[in-house]
Symmetry: C2
Subunit: 465 residues, 2 copies
């Protein structure tokens, strides 16, 4: 046994074992602000399952931590390096191995970009629904590891619901294949569901079998503008109560409307308190008309129904600009690269959406910290976006206070600390509060059972004793 690097060079070519400081620096963090990131020992780029297994065996032999990475678009620090770790970049495993239109399944490597799978499915007349905001750049491996969501979830659910089977490299370098290729199957423990969403703490996912859906009908969209947040909340409640199943039901608050209009003027009503965007994809106008009526009756000051898919896409683009617009706002508010955004992610019972938004507003005002709220009102999953001045310690401290108060409020409303972004580093303490000591004990038991030496993504998700 040589040094870890020597042993890695025995299993991977030199150009795929990188130790140059620029490469290490480029791979030390994901897109979460305010999360710690260490300096890795090396960044390795395996191109096959066998190479991943070989790398893990080297890491296991040396008890060196292993941090799997995809496109590093995560928002919780789950992919951040820890000191002395091997960062295993899976972006080189980027092939769609199979797409079987008859069975409606695809088998992909973890480095396949969400958009790449989405397009391949569409070409086969099918759909891969999960659509995290990062869909144009994030990888399926990362999506599965964080159990990513998106705007589709209100109708189609999160990533885990599309994962039928996995291949996973375990902590001893052995290769597990779990799950199935059939539509249906209940054989044994749900290992697939356990590894999905485990954020790289239990193994490295090297192959994913996903289920696809028939392509939906044409998307139709309605936009409703409200003078008060409570009215938008009533519209959401009415849509749900009537049993409608929109394919999208998004909420933007005034801060976001103003940020978007400042970033890309499109005639948004910046005096409004909230805007709802709802869509259907059944291909008929009936359900959308009924949803629009719910929006109107709840007190919309303005209502606009898109006549076709092109108009629908134009309306949705305002929603898609929410994140870049808030980044722009942060840059304007705190120039010189000081502006930071903490994108929170909390899911509450649908009936409490308006309470959450009101509470966030109160917290924001009390601490003098700008917080915009955007998100998936239809499933109660909102993203309060906290704007901080990274160069000002007191601004960062107040940002953290606001973050914690929002988390506390979310749990008090019967919610969860993460609807779709995962735990990572950002929410480790809040996960522990949410699941309590027994839940934490069970998490630790499972982690220890599958990764006894704790080499996989240490310090993420669960606080070990």
């Amino acid at each position: 046994m040589g040094s870890p690097i020597e042993d890695l060079l025995a299993v991977l070519p030199g150009d795929r074992v990188r130790t140059d400081p620029a490469v290490l620096a480029a791979h030390c963090r994901d897109e979460a602000d305010l999360c710690d990131a260490g300096t890795p020992l090396a960044v390795v780029r395996p191109r096959s399952t066998a190479e991943v297994a070989a790398v893990v065996r080297v890491a296991a032999a040396h008890r060196v931590p292993v941090v799997p990475q995809g496109a590093r678009t995560g928002l919780t620090g789950a992919a951040n390096a820890v000191d002395g770790a091997l960062v295993v970049s899976l972006t080189g495993l980027n092939r769609i191995l199979e797409l079987d239109a008859g069975e409606r399944i695809a088998v992909v490597q973890p480095g396949v970009v969400n958009a790449q799978l989405r397009w391949a499915a569409a070409e086969a007349g099918l759909a891969y629904p999960p659509d995290p905001g990062s869909w144009e750049s994030s990888t399926i491996g990362g999506n599965v590891s964080t159990d990513a969501g998106g705007m589709c979830c209100v109708k189609y659910g999160v990533t885990r619901e599309y994962v039928l089977g996995l291949e996973v490299v375990l902590a001893d370098g052995e290769i597990l294949r779990c799950g199935r290729r059939t539509v249906k199957g209940v054989a044994g423990y749900d290992l697939t569901g356990l590894f999905a969403g485990s954020e790289g703490t239990l193994g490295i996912i090297t192959e994913i079998t996903v289920r696809l859906r028939p392509a939906p009908g044409e998307t139709r969209t309605v936009v409703a503008v409200y003078p008060a947040m409570a009215a938008a909340g009533r519209a959401v409640a009415a849509i749900v109560a009537a049993g409608h199943v929109p394919s999208m039901l998004e909420l933007l608050d005034r801060t976001h409307l103003r940020a978007i209009e400042a970033y890309r003027p499109m005639g948004l009503d910046t005096s409004a308190a909230a805007m709802l965007l709802a869509a259907t994809d059944t291909g008929t106008g009936t359900e959308l008309a009924a949803i629009a009526e719910c929006c109107r009756q709840a007190g919309a000051s303005e209502l606009y129904v898109a006549e076709d898919a092109v108009e629908a896409e134009a309306l949705t683009s305002a929603r898609r600009l929410a994140h870049p617009a808030m980044e722009h706002l942060a840059r304007q508010a705190f120039p010189g690269g000081r502006g930071g955004l903490v994108v929170d992610d909390v899911a509450v019972p649908r009936a409490r959406v308006a309470d959450l938004v009101d509470g966030v507003e109160e917290i924001s005002a009390r601490h003098g910290v700008l917080v915009g709220v955007v998100g998936h009102a239809g499933d109660g999953n909102l993203h309060p976006v906290i704007v901080v001045d990274r160069a000002d310690e007191s601004s960062v401290d107040r940002g953290r206070l606001v973050f914690d108060e929002i988390m506390r409020l979310g749990l008090a409303l019967g919610g969860t600390c993460t609807g779709e972004h995962g735990v990572g580093l950002l929410k480790k303490d809040w996960l522990a509060r949410e699941i309590g000591p027994v839940g934490t004990k069970v998490h630790r038991a499972l982690k220890t059972a599958l990764d006894p030496d704790g080499i996989f993504n240490p310090g993420k998700v669960i606080a070990l004793p």
Copy 2:
């Protein structure tokens, strides 16, 4: 510490700690034929989570096995007693604790009967889709523990997809609450999914939070009769390929048609090779008409479209009679209680359904054992039903050979050894073959992590070393 019974009597009233032989005998097995069943030490009937926890603590202190039971309608021996075990009957925990129509969730105790939840949901204008054949008598706890399926799965999926959260009594008597009440949530490992489908080997489920759906539209049904199984297979493939999403797509073979007609004459064509039943519940006739056209083009010799829900239900009743009709057939073939049925459960890729049926027919003929095939063609999940003479050792042996050959065929076709019934005792060896040594090792590691002394349902699901 006294004897186990003395200690149980300290935590439960005497009438809920039963040791009389008749009660023990009545609780020693589920509905699976040809599975071993032991004699329990006692049958206990807790009425609260605290009482379940107290019972588990007694069992843990004495290292006495614990076998949880619901309605004992399972088909794999998962609920069979083992010698000296405490059978914990959960049927006394039978309350619907909450049904929140706005959030579309229900919180129920494990002893709630599937039909009870179904009716409560319907009264609130909602639906609880999972519909195992035993829905009128099986409990939600049992449904969750086995991850039960049903006819709805082709559109709505298996039980696990409806379980949002659980309360579970762990092996040390501690009470875990996992999952969520929100539509969306990805906090931590998917413990809910892990306990669901674990067949009582990891803990005792004492409370279940399920998601409900908006009530579907009126059901419309089409029946198609085929002179050859391959034609029925083509119809299924065409329906799937066209992107239709039937709410039911069931197949009955000639053996079942004849058994049903003999049991309850209803004018079925007993010369046909197969019958398909398809339904839609979108409330419009459009999709059903398109499905009927697929059925016709595949070569149906007869096609019948139900005009309304009453007619649709009449057509479906033939399918519902499949199991009692085969029991009747077994009683007729082997009088005096000798007739036994082994209900197999195998799921294959949808395109291989006809291959599976053909293969079963060949196996049946070669061994001279009657096997009927019925099941959920739309998701590739079929039930070959093997008829044996329990009093004739050679008949039973041939039945086992047929069972094993069908399992082998299912795996060879890319399938899984269980689509919806679970593993229990019946398929322990086949699970091991399906998941291989690494999968088995991971199962054992998880079992040991959560139940180090192996008190929960020992000998079920996984073969321990």
